[in-house]
């Protein structure tokens, strides 16, 4: 599953200043990191949808597959950030759960499409 292969995922730049009592962030870098997460999740939902369709997952299996793919994506993103999430993002939730439901619709669309093309038609 090409998480690291996505060129946009490589832009995990580190943030600015003191992250002590005052969590202040370099907004541009934070935004670019968030953007790269969003792109990689979207890309993965599309690819995952196509794969789920081709393999013929139906019903709950497909959704479980989607969440597995998202979990693998989160894990890889955390690994890419060298597990020190606070150097790159403002909270754990950003890297773990953000954007999962946004990608769900794209997943369902491509899942339906691939499933129909391969198995029904």
């Amino acid at each position: 599953m090409a998480v690291e292969g996505d060129p946009r995922a490589s832009a995990n730049r580190s943030l600015g200043d003191a992250v002590d009592d005052l969590p202040i962030f370099n907004v541009d870098n934070l935004q670019s990191n968030i953007k790269s997460i969003y792109y990689s999740r979207t890309f993965l939902s599309i690819i995952g949808g196509a794969i789920a369709g081709i393999w013929g997952f139906t019903g709950l299996t497909g959704f479980i597959f989607y969440f597995i793919v998202m979990a693998v994506a989160s894990l890889s993103l955390a690994a890419k950030a060298k597990f020190s999430v606070h150097a790159y993002f403002d909270s754990w939730s950003r890297i773990l759960v953000d954007g999962i439901f946004g990608g769900l619709m794209s997943f369902v669309l491509f899942w339906t499409f691939a499933y129909d093309i391969v198995h029904i038609f």
């Binding site: 003191a18 202040i24 792109y39 953000d98 129909d116």
Partner: protein, 360 residues
């Protein structure tokens, strides 16, 4: 079981009926059970438009079983037993699914470029630029999905006028960065903003009402709003009408997960057979699926701007009864209650700790 033509609605008039009808054949050349249908097909031939018959005979056919029932032919229980595993015509895939998706992608791209061309670039007023010292990246971003993620913002600023927007951003920066400036300068900035007489954030009571009216009457802003609205609504409406006209009356796709019976009315609106599994949906639901699912694709191929966030836009439109004075007073309250906490002593301690660690 003999085939009975119960009711065959308007067969001659529309080309679409001819097109789709001519697709049918026989499931059952492949599985011999329902062989009677072959007889049914021939019995139907007088009803087909005369210029179509040759084409019909020439076409290679695959089953479109319940489609027969849709056009009013009944064939008894055989349909129900096959309802689990309908095999659909390849032509549906070629001529319905793929073109519909392609058309929606192209319309999205077209709309992106058209809105880019039509966006009237207002050169920001000099007075406004002087007042606001914030980065302009905030000012021109309208509905990027990450706007909700940026820490300081809890209100959607896109619908605001330029001048209050800058002031609010400055106030927010002040709130967020209050720890970096000494107490005296923080206080002076605070009074600059919240001063009762001429503080930037202070809005006298009488003025708060007509801010909204002003926003409506401002022709540029209204025109902008309308353009954004139109550029979004018109392609959607047209595409929906097109889908309804050409692609109704047959099963278009099968969604891979089962749904309850309640969704039947929503997803299968062109199909009149009630024993077909709810997973088999009409092309209207394929249209809606595309509508929501292609947003992600658009954000990938069109860059981060104008990723077709229709739901966000609709929320923006509905939240239009928003006036800037309310957010100004909210900012004022925010600044008032903040406790200034200068970070410099802590920084010294931190530097000391870091040095100690290095020397160890």
């Amino acid at each position: 079981m003999p085939l009975r033509c119960v009711h065959v609605p308007k067969i001659h008039s529309d080309a679409r009926f001819a097109f789709t009808t001519l697709r049918f054949v026989q499931v059952i050349r492949t599985c011999g059970r329902l062989d009677f249908l072959s007889r049914g097909v021939e019995s139907l031939s007088p009803f087909l438009p005369s210029k179509g018959t040759k084409r019909w005979q020439r076409l290679q056919i695959r089953p479109l079983l319940f489609f027969l029932s849709q056009r009013g032919l009944c064939f008894g229980g055989a349909a129900a037993s096959m309802a689990e595993d309908l095999v659909l015509d390849t032509a549906i895939r070629d001529w319905v699914l793929v073109p519909l998706s392609v058309v929606m992608v192209l319309i999205g791209v077209l709309r992106y470029f058209v809105s880019k061309l039509m966006r009237s670039h207002q050169a920001p007023d000099l007075k406004v630029v002087k007042e606001g010292s914030v980065s302009s990246s905030f000012a021109h971003r309208d509905h990027v999905p990450f706007s909700k993620l940026v820490l300081l913002l809890d209100v959607d600023l896109a619908s605001l006028d330029l001048f209050p927007r800058q002031v609010i951003l400055r106030a927010r920066n002040l709130r967020a960065a209050s720890g970096f400036i000494p107490a005296k300068s923080f206080r002076s900035r605070k009074t600059y903003f919240t001063n009762e007489e001429n503080g930037l954030l202070h809005v006298p009571k009488g003025q708060s009402q007509n801010a909204q009216a002003q926003m409506f009457s401002d022709p540029n802003l209204a025109m902008d709003m309308m353009k954004k609205n139109l550029s979004m609504i018109i392609p959607q409406t047209l595409t929906f009408a097109w889908v309804n006209f050409f692609f109704s009356g047959f099963v278009a796709a099968k969604i891979p997960f089962p749904l309850t019976q309640r969704f039947r009315g929503m997803l299968q609106n062109g199909i009149d057979l009630s024993t077909v599994d709810v997973s088999y949906v009409s092309s209207r639901s394929w249209y809606f699926l595309n509508l929501f699912g292609l947003r992600g694709l658009f954000s990938l191929i069109l860059g981060e701007e104008n990723a077709m966030d229709d739901t966000q836009r609709m929320m923006q439109m509905s939240g239009f009864g928003f006036d800037p004075s309310r957010s100004l007073s909210a900012e004022k309250d925010g600044i008032d209650i903040i406790q200034h906490d200068w970070a410099l002593p802590k920084m010294e301690k931190r530097a000391e700790d870091a040095l100690k660690k290095l020397l160890k």
